[in-house]
Point group: C2
Chain length 351, copies 2
DNA sequence: CCTCGCTGCCAAATCGTTTTGCCGCGGGGT
DNA sequence: ACCCCGCGGCAAAACGATTTGGCAGCGAGG
C-alpha cells in the first residue's frame, strides 16, 4: 500500500537515492553511532571536537534534516505554534475590517516563528474543545480575545501555553499578553488635535470589548476630565456595519465637534462621507484621525492621520512571549508595544 | 521517575487533570488490545460490530485524539499542508494590495483544510531549499506564482505535491492549478461597459506576469479586435506604486477613453483621483471597474464596480486539488472558478 | 477424522529521534 | 598498587501510533 510516497525524484546534492536521509545515514557516513549524531546536532552530550566536526560535515553533505514527527514524538514538542485570527476577521463576511493589520500581523508572525525555528499553524474558528485537541501544537497566539469567545479558555483547559495579542479584559490578572499602547496613542492623537487648535475634541468608537477600544475610551474620558471638558463620545453598535456606523456618525456630527478620533478605522469612511454631505470640511472644519493604519487610510481623500500599530514588532514580541511561556519561564510583565502617529491631511490644517 | 501508564480505568472525560489519553488508555477502558482500537478508529481491520461500538464509545468518553506525531511517524504523513502567500502581500512593506482577497483566502483555506482533517501551515518567504525542508508537510498551495520565484520548483525538488492558485505561466503543461476565470470576467466587464453605452473601452493594468493580469490583457485585446477597435491598453510598472501608478493613469486618461477596466484594483484609487482633478466625472464621463473586490472598492466614492473572485470557492477547490494530488490521483483538468460581477456606482450612469 | 477457510482478535515489529545508563580507558591522587 | 573520576562514546529504551503476521476457535466439506 505504498502508493503515496511520491518518489522523491532527482535527489539532492550528491547521490541521494530514494529516501530522505535519516540520522542513521549520517551516523554511517561519519562512522559513529546515532547517539553521537544526535548529541552533535543538538549540542547536548560530550563529544570530541574532531568527531563533532566530522558529524556536522556528514550531516551537511547529506542534506540531513531531522524528521519532525519523530523528534516531536520523542520530545513531546512539536515546534509548532498556532495563531487564531479573531472570529470575523474575514472582510468578505463580517465587519471587522482592520484587514491590512491582520494580514501584516499574520505574515510577520510567520517570520518571527520561523526565526525561532517554529512552524506556524493557522487555526480555524474553534467550535469545540476537540477542534483544538486535533492539532499538534506547543502553544498558541490568540488575536483580540473578546469576553464571549472561549478560545483562551480552551487553551487553558488543555494545559496549552497561550498568549494574546490585545489584553483579555475578562482576565485582568493575566500577564501573558502583547498589545499596542492604546492609552499612549490616544493621548498622542488628542494632543495632536489640541496642538492643531481643536477645542471640541470627540471620539467615535465602537461597543466591542477589545482592549484597544476600551483603553482608548477610558483614556479619552480621563483626558477630557483633566482639561475640564465634557467628553463627546459616541459608540457604534458592533453588529451590522452599514446602519449602525451611519447613525453613529450622524449622532457624532450633531454634537458639532471640531476634531474626532476614530479608533475603529472602519467607521471613518462613513464619517468622512457624511461630513462632506453636510458641508463639514476635513480638515478645515473637522480634524480626523483613526486608530489603525491601512492602505485605505493612506489613499483616502484626504489621507487619514492614523496610528501605526507596528504589527512587525507586535508579532515578534508575541512569538517571543509565547516561547518564553512554553519554555516554562516566569510570568513577567505584559509587553506594551509603542506606537507611532502618522499625521496626514485629515488632521493638518492648510496654513 | 514515575512510570506513567495512565490509569485507564478511572479515565474521566470531564476532569482532564492528568496527561492526554493514549491509545493504550482506550484499549484498557474497552478491554481490548491497542491493535483493535487502531483498527476501529481507522476502519481497517476485521472487528466485531459489538466490539467496535464498545471501543468507539470508550474513545469518545475519554476524549481520545491520536497523537499526530506518532501517527505521522508511522504513516509517513503529517496531515498538514502549507500555504504560501505571494512575496509582497504585506501591505505595510509592498505594493501588492489585494489585501482583502488574501486574508479571506487564507481564512477560507484554513477552514477547507480543517474540514479535510488537515492542518494548515503558513510558510514564510522561502530563501533556500532547506527552509522548505524544515517543515513537516504533505504538500503546499502556492499563491500567485511568478516566473521569478522558485517556490514551485522547491516543492518539485523535494518531491512534495503542490498546487498553485493562479496559473504559473512558465509551466503551461502543469494542470495542477486553481484560478478565477480571468477571461470570462474580462468579457463580462467589457460587455457591461458596452451595454452602458461605452465606445472607447480601455484597460489599465500592470506589467506583472500573473495569469490573472496576463489573461485579462489578452482577452481585452481579442475583444477589441472582434469589434474592430484599436485596443487602448496602458500598463503600469510593477515597482514603486506611487509614481508609476500615477503616470500610467495619466497616460491612460490622455487617450480619452469613456470606460476603463482596471484588473489590478490598487491602481484605481489614483485613477479616480486624477480623473476628478481633470474634471472627468465618474461614471458620467468615464465608466470604471476593477478586477478584485474589496472593502475599499465597496466604500470608495463612487463605489467601484468589481469582480468577485470568490475566495471561499477558490480555497475549497485548491485544498481539494491538493489532497487529490497528495493521494496520488491522476492530473485531471485545472479548476477554473467562475466569478461574479458586482456593478456599482462607478459604472452605472444615472438615468 | 482431517483439512480448509473464515472470523475476531492480539503480540510484536516498525517509524526516526532523543535520552538514559553504562563501559572502557587514561591519568592523577593516595 | 589501588581507587576514583572525567572523558568520549555506544547500546538500548523510550515516545504513541499503524501494520504485519500470526493464533485460536468454529463450522463446513471431503
Amino acid at each position: 500500500m505504498t502508493t503515496s510516497q511520491a518518489r522523491a525524484g532527482s535527489g539532492e546534492a550528491t547521490g541521494t537515492r530514494g529516501r530522505r536521509p535519516g540520522i542513521k545515514d549520517v551516523a554511517g557516513a561519519a562512522g559513529v553511532s546515532v547517539t553521537t549524531v544526535s548529541h552533535v546536532l543538538n549540542g547536548k552530550g560530550r563529544v570530541d571536537a574532531a568527531t563533532r566536526a566530522r558529524v556536522a560535515e556528514a550531516a551537511e553533505r547529506l542534506g540531513y534534516r531531522p524528521n519532525s514527527n519523530a523528534r516531536g514524538l520523542r520530545s513531546g514538542r512539536t515546534d509548532t505554534i498556532a495563531m487564531l485570527l479573531p472570529a470575523g476577521a474575514d472582510a468578505h463576511d463580517h465587519h471587522v475590517l482592520a484587514v491590512d493589520y491582520y494580514l501584516s500581523l499574520t505574515m510577520k508572525t510567520v517570520e518571527a516563528a520561523f526565526e525561532r525555528d517554529q512552524a506556524l499553524l493557522q487555526l480555524p474558528p474553534l467550535r469545540r474543545l476537540d477542534d483544538l485537541r486535533r492539532f499538534g501544537i506547543d502553544g498558541g497566539i490568540v488575536l483580540d480575545p473578546v469576553p464571549g469567545d472561549g478560545r483562551v479558555a480552551m487553551f487553558h483547559r488543555l494545559g496549552l501555553p497561550v498568549v494574546t495579542v490585545g489584553r483579555d479584559i475578562t482576565r485582568p490578572d493575566d500577564p501573558w499578553w502583547v498589545a499596542a499602547d492604546s492609552a499612549a496613542s490616544t493621548r498622542t492623537v488628542l494632543e495632536h488635535f489640541a496642538a492643531g487648535g481643536a477645542r471640541r475634541v470627540a471620539m467615535l468608537s465602537v461597543d466591542i470589548e477589545w482592549s484597544w477600544f476600551a483603553d482608548a475610551e477610558r483614556t479619552y474620558v480621563e483626558w477630557a476630565a483633566e482639561r475640564g471638558c465634557e467628553p463627546i463620545l459616541v459608540l457604534a453598535r458592533p453588529d451590522r456595519r452599514d446602519s449602525s456606523a451611519a447613525s453613529a456618525a450622524a449622532a457624532l456630527l450633531d454634537l458639532r465637534p471640531d476634531a474626532v478620533y476614530v479608533p475603529p478605522q472602519w467607521l471613518a469612511t462613513g464619517l468622512l462621507r457624511l461630513a462632506r454631505d453636510r458641508g463639514v470640511r476635513v480638515p478645515d472644519d473637522l480634524l480626523v484621525a483613526v486608530g489603525v493604519d491601512s492602505h485605505l487610510a493612506r489613499t483616502s481623500e484626504p489621507a487619514l492621520t492614523a496610528v501605526d500599530l507596528d504589527p512587525a514588532r507586535t508579532a515578534r514580541e508575541a512569538v517571543d512571549l509565547l516561547m518564553h511561556r512554553i519554555e516554562g519561564g516566569p510570568p513577567g510583565d505584559p509587553r506594551v508595544i509603542p506606537v507611532t502617529l502618522h499625521p496626514r491631511g485629515s488632521s493638518l490644517r492648510p496654513k
